[in-house]
């Protein structure tokens, strides 16, 4: 077996608590499908037959019991539960399933919606015998107004600095603005080996990683690393150019140092494979070099290599903020070709449903309603003379007559009283909006769900 897929679905959605306090993030409906369906669909399309899904007990329960959450995937899902309050990072989760990992892994996050060609990422991993291969995409500006946002959108997101070489494939440098004190610090050894480096900001990390099995074993020994994106990836990128990985004489010493618990040495042993001499002979006889201009061999003799595939076009979203969630709902219908109006929905003839709206199963849409550019969830009731524009209505919502909903997000089981006028609001789960209310740009949640400070 070549690759095992691991889906990380235990995240809490800390950046959109208003949406996730009642529904766990993997099950948030996007285009009337749970969020977790999208990465699973991606893996299935590409040809995976089984996936290890790391999730919480709550999600597992909902997947098995809730009829609304239908994951119609043909793959075999191996659900591994971890405690919610254990505060496990993604690397901790990988360590947790170390026994199940038998080959190289492909780690995907549950909030990734993309139509990327995965073979580009995996080809880099295969062809260059890389330790890490990841996917990134050019970030697109979000154009939709986010409900509940007061004032200008602050660029509070910390920037990522990604350094790639001339071909745009080899990952040379990765740092987050939060980790840097004054400026970007680049080691001389990197500049000597790769004098031309392109540093890019404004890239979205898709959180899709191909990792060698030796990295998972390395994680098992190094319990200090808890997050893949935050700690493991920068560590591996830095390690490419560290002296200990590159000097050939270390290999002889490592055979003697098998008992030592030195983390550097461990990673080194695990990188070397059987038939190392044959691979070495091949590289020696082959006339290929990944760079030119200096006297060193291919890859500068380095054994640890990290690669990145940067997508120029195509959809790639990580649904971890409200803005991303809304944007994803707009674009989700393009990713699958199910009919926009579910066959089991009861839609009366005198309503106007725009072409880019999605109506979920078992809905009831009454007369004289107008639904444009919106998503209506499963089992939602929309009464007469309602205008829904640019909104996301989740499951089980009741919208009484005469309402006007614009640019809003209505969570599941909410009730909007008659004649209400909701503009750019976020209505939390199971909330009731009183009739004839007029709300603009507000976040309406229950008092028990307010954030603790």
């Amino acid at each position: 077996m070549e690759l095992q897929a691991v889906l990380m679905a235990a995240g809490g959605g800390s950046r959109m608590m208003d949406l996730t306090y009642n529904t766990p993030k993997p099950l948030l409906p996007v285009g009337n499908k749970p969020l977790i369906w999208y990465p699973l669909n991606l893996l299935e399309r590409v040809g995976f037959e089984e996936v290890i899904v790391i999730t919480t007990k709550e999600v597992q329960k909902m997947i098995s019991t809730d009829p609304k959450v239908k994951l119609d995937v043909k793959m075999k899902l191996d659900l591994v539960c971890i405690q919610e309050d254990a505060d496990m990072g993604t690397a901790d989760a990988l360590r947790h399933i170390q026994q199940k990992v038998k080959t190289d892994v492909l780690v995907v996050s549950c909030d990734l919606i993309t139509d990327a060609a995965l073979h580009e990422v995996v080809d880099l991993f295969r062809a260059h015998n890389a330790t890490l291969s990841m996917l990134m995409s050019k970030a697109h500006e979000f154009t939709e107004t986010v409900p509940g946002q007061k004032g200008k959108k602050k660029t509070g997101e910390q920037r990522d600095f990604v350094g790639v070489d001339g071909t745009g494939k080899r990952l040379l440098f990765m740092a987050n603005e939060a980790d840097l004190d004054e400026g970007v610090v680049i080691r001389k050894s990197i500049m000597r080996k790769h004098p031309r480096m392109h540093i890019k900001t404004g890239l979205v990390d898709a959180h899709l990683y191909c990792l060698k099995k030796s990295v998972v074993d390395f994680l098992a020994d190094n319990k200090s690393i808890s997050s893949i994106r935050g700690e493991l990836v920068p560590y591996l990128v830095r390690k490419q150019f560290s002296k200990s990985t590159n000097s050939p004489k270390v290999i002889d010493e490592t055979h003697q140092n098998l008992k030592k618990n030195d983390s550097n040495v461990n990673l080194e042993i695990q990188i070397s494979s059987r038939d190392e001499e044959l691979l070495h002979l091949t590289q020696e006889r082959s006339c290929w070099n990944d760079h030119r201009g200096d006297m060193s061999d291919a890859y500068h003799g380095g054994r640890l290599r990290c690669y990145v595939h940067i997508m120029d076009e195509g959809i790639c979203y990580r649904v971890n903020t409200l803005a991303a969630y809304i944007e994803a709902n707009r674009l989700a219908p393009k990713l699958f070709d199910e009919p926009a109006v579910h066959p089991s929905a009861v839609v009366s003839e005198r309503c106007l449903i725009g072409a880019d709206s999605i109506i979920g199963a078992s809905c009831q849409i009454s007369d004289k309603t107008s639904i444009k550019r919106s998503t209506i969830g499963v089992s939602t009731t929309v009464r007469e003379k309602v205008k829904v524009t640019n909104s996301i209505i989740m499951h089980g919502v009741t919208i009484e007559e005469g309402c006007n909903i614009q640019g809003s997000v209505i969570c599941s089981n909410a009730v909007i009283g008659r004649g209400a006028d909701i503009k750019y609001c976020l209505v939390g789960s199971a909330q009731r909006i009183e009739p004839d209310a007029e709300r603009t740009n507000e976040v309406i949640v229950g008092t028990d769900q307010l954030m603790e400070i």
């Binding site: 077996m1 070549e2 690759l3 095992q4 897929a5 590409v46 040809g47 995976f48 037959e49 492909l106 060609a117 995965l118 073979h119 995996v122 080809d123 295969r126 062809a127 260059h128 015998n129 038939d275 044959l278 691979l279 002979l281 091949t282 590289q283 020696e284 006889r285 082959s286 006339c287 290929w288 070099n289 030119r292 006297m295």
Partner: protein
């Protein structure tokens, strides 16, 4: 004569079998009947249901000698019919007509021979007035000398029948077909031309189950040029085969010697699709297949696997590593102090020789000649300069200016053909030609495992077309050939190999010694006798 009678008899009998039968069914039934007839001939016994046919004419057929000669002219003009695709025989086996009661367990070779002979008769029957006689053979083909070589499919890309056959074969092996790219220059339209931007892996499932992961990795490395050069490709191939053998488990009721060879066939097709196999790889594959088939059936699996792995290691050690040492030893005798040696492109063997000669403190300098688009000479230059050899670097267009200084030319070879021609990187024949005019000795260095039995006198018949987009170059931000596909009268040709006639080569240095170019068939014959 008799044969024609039999054929006519069959065709007369077709309406009896029912007009509602389709053409395929009729053909199937016809084949089946012929097979049954052959069964009867073998056993010399009366079959249960063969009363409809008159078998006496069949048994009076002349002996099968004409088959060989018959095949020779018929194979070349119509190679499409000679290899039989397995699906054609599948309906035969599943047809409802009664099969002979006691079918003997024939060897696969005999069955294949029968099918082949049957197809020949079908084809001959379709050609009116054919004087085919005795095409029906009772002797299995393996007993005849395999004198006829069919044209390989990779040089018949413009024949749609061959392409269809290849597609069917790949489909059967569950390997995606790589489609050709771009406009092909008409003289080379019979060869494949692929684009590097459309790798074969985008049509495969990602955790590749059909093809072993190390083979997928190897195919990717071939198509992207990460593993390039005849020796490197062979070593990488054998390394990947070692992984395959390690991960192999014999399925129940199967023999390792036969099943493993069948497992390797789709992998080889896959690698062929990624990049056409080189002659050295072909020889390595032949060796492995022979070794696998020679495993005795009572050998346990673990033992067999370790035996195969040591065989592979020994092959690499003998044919590549030690051969390189032997060739260096011979070649160093030819290098004298004060020499100016010209090399072309990157040849791992020639580089090895020069580095060893330098270590043995010969005083010489090297001129590295390079050519676009591969510019492999840069890598050769880097490795030589890294050792401390003083080098000059020119492009091939400067060849005639630099040759007056040169005292000898060392060339590497991709393969040595059976008529003494040297197949090497495109540009080598130029170098040899110009060197001949300047009376500079040309020495070709080549290991014996690269000798192949093919015969070619020009570079058109069999070659490799690389990605035409490699010829595009961006200077000062402008790529002139960016839209070459839109210009209808423009074709880009990126040839990989060319053949040098033996008149231009003065000496071939092999691990068996220094031989003239025309002695290659002798070496091949000796090698075949050994094996």
């Amino acid at each position: 004569m008799y044969h024609r009678y039999v054929v006519v008899a069959l065709s007369r009998r077709k309406p009896n079998e029912g007009k509602e039968l389709t053409k395929e069914e009729k053909q199937r039934l016809r084949k089946q009947k012929k097979h049954q007839k052959k069964q009867k001939e073998r056993k010399n016994e009366k079959g249960p249901s063969e009363t409809e046919k008159d078998k006496t004419p069949v048994s009076l057929l002349p002996p099968p000698q004409p088959v060989a000669t018959q095949k020779a002219p018929s194979a070349l003009p119509a190679p499409a019919s000679a290899p039989i695709p397995v699906p054609a025989s599948a309906p035969f086996h599943s047809s409802p007509a009664p099969s002979p009661a006691d079918k003997p367990a024939k060897s696969k070779a005999e069955l294949k021979a029968e099918r082949r002979a049957r197809q020949e008769t079908d084809r001959a029957a379709k050609q009116p007035g054919s004087s085919s006689s005795g095409i029906k053979t009772k002797v299995p083909l393996s007993e005849l000398n395999p004198v006829v070589k069919r044209l390989p499919e990779h040089v018949q890309v413009d024949d749609p029948a061959v392409v269809k056959r290849l597609a069917k074969k790949l489909e059967r092996q569950q390997i995606p077909l790589r489609s050709d790219y771009g406009y092909k220059v008409s003289l080379f339209s019979h060869l494949h031309q692929y684009s590097r931007k459309a790798p074969l892996t985008q049509l495969l499932s990602i955790p590749s189950t059909v093809i072993h992961p190390s083979i997928v990795r190897l195919g990717l490395q071939y198509s992207q040029g990460i593993v390039a050069g005849s020796n490197a490709r062979s070593v990488a191939l054998l390394h990947a085969f070692k992984q395959v053998i390690r991960d192999y488990t014999t399925p129940p009721n199967e023999e390792l010697s036969r099943d493993l060879v069948n497992k390797l066939k789709p992998y080889i097709s896959f690698l062929n699709q990624c990049r056409p196999l080189s002659a050295s790889m072909g020889n390595a594959i032949k060796y492995i297949k022979k070794e696998i088939s020679n495993i005795p059936s009572q050998c346990k699996e673990e033992e067999a696997k370790t035996k195969l792995l040591t065989c592979i290691d020994r092959y690499i050690e003998e044919k590549i590593v030690l051969a390189a040492k032997a060739i260096s030893k011979y070649a160093i005798e030819k290098i004298s102090d004060g020499d100016v040696i010209l090399v072309y492109g990157y040849s791992s063997l020639v580089n090895n020789i020069l580095c060893e000669a330098f270590e043995k403190s010969r005083k010489f300098r090297v001129i590295v000649v390079d050519s676009r688009p591969r510019l492999e000479g840069r890598e050769a230059l880097r490795r030589l300069v890294q050792r401390g050899i003083s080098c000059t670097y020119v492009l091939i267009s400067a060849l005639s200016y630099i040759l007056p200084e040169v005292s000898k030319v060392f060339l590497g070879a991709h393969a040595l053909l059976a008529n003494g021609y040297v197949m090497s990187r495109v540009g080598t024949s130029q170098i040899a030609l110009v060197a001949r005019t300047y009376n500079v000795p040309v020495l070709v260095c080549c290991e014996t495992y690269k000798f192949c039995e093919r015969v070619q006198t020009d570079s058109f018949v069999s070659n490799e077309l690389d990605d035409p987009d490699d010829l595009m170059v961006t200077r000062k931000g402008k790529t002139q050939l960016e839209n070459w596909q839109d210009v209808s009268s423009l074709g880009l040709l990126n040839l990989v190999y060319d053949v040098t006639p033996p008149d231009f080569v003065d000496l071939v240095i092999t691990d068996l010694g220094m031989i003239p170019c025309t002695s290659v068939p002798v070496v091949l014959r000796v090698k075949n006798l050994d094996q």
